[in-house]
Symmetry: C2
Subunit: 196 residues, 2 copies
């Protein structure tokens, strides 16, 4: 057992860069963040950055991929009533946004806003993140439609897109107003009106 | 009449800065735009910038104010059925976004995403822009509720907020996907499901 202490893994420079850059990007956006800001936050020499990433774009794309891969979809694939699972899932997303700071919004939304300058790698990663999240939500909406619990007038894909875009727009407004109460309205209106 | 030519007003340096900066900000965002980018686009000396604006923040706030003051609200205050007026209004917003480039989204949304670094003046201007737009949409929703054309389960303010946030989130996704068709779904779903 004692060997574990001696052998404890060091956090690599690369992992430090990924860990601290996420917070800096969230707070300052893509263009508002310099490589120097990231290496300062990570406490590593600026020169070490390029041993691990060929550009700020590549690191940002990596962070976006990890962000959506870390999104907890467990409620969506659980058993139980589809609308309850959607509620549980979005409550978790609201909690996640609260924990990282409502003032900084959703990381996917932040990068989405800056894809014109953040470049193709970041754009592709955000696209994939939105697409996979939308597909997971759409699958639950499809179940609800199959069970006759909500209208089938619109496709699961269209409803899931609308729902997620409304969430992103709500998170965006909160960056400006500082009032997270509208996320509760978002969820109530979505589940009792949009998915009717 | 000939005097008019001699007396034709020159476009002032300040107006040139405002005019060209809007396009640069739209395409590159707040942090992605430098004062030099703006003066280059306007074709004026860099030094002239500070004769008219004390900072990039002040110019950005001015542009946001002009942007929402230029928003065409005529359909909202026209006569006719409330839902038809909402449709006409949002079709105009979609057209406006198309004309300035779907790839660059809505200017309010672009600045909203960057308020953490763009500072308090920009934040206040975006806040005011979202609030005035939401109030104008809410007034029409209130009319529809008073006429019994849509449910009064949620307040006009909450429904207008949801609708505008869904629009902003949709415009944000289009920056990433490049597919503006979802704006049509946004409008159809909003008017036939959300406002039911």
């Amino acid at each position: 057992m004692t060997g574990y202490i001696k052998g404890m893994p060091q956090v690599s420079v690369k992992e430090k860069l990924v860990k601290y850059a996420e917070e800096v990007f969230r707070q300052r956006g893509f263009d508002g963040t310099s490589v120097q800001d990231i290496t300062d936050a990570a406490g590593v020499p600026k020169g070490s950055f390029y041993n691990h990433f060929d550009s700020k774009q590549s690191l940002a794309a990596e962070i976006v991929r990890r962000y959506y891969q870390a999104t907890d979809l467990s409620d969506l694939v659980a058993s139980g009533a589809p609308l309850d699972r959607l509620r549980a899932h979005f409550l978790k997303q609201i909690k996640r946004t609260e924990q990282t700071g409502f003032a900084y919004g959703c990381l996917l939304g932040t990068f989405a806003a800056e894809v014109t300058t953040a470049g193709e790698k970041v754009k592709a990663a955000v696209h994939e993140g939105l697409a996979s999240w939308t597909a997971a939500v759409a699958a639950v909406i499809a179940e609800a439609q199959a069970r006759g619990e909500i209208s089938s007038r619109y496709s699961p894909q269209d409803l899931a897109t609308y729902m997620i875009d409304a969430f992103e727009g709500t998170a965006l407004r909160i960056k400006v107003t500082g009032d997270p109460a509208i996320l509760t309205h978002f969820l109530d209106i979505t589940l009792s009106v949009l998915l009717l």
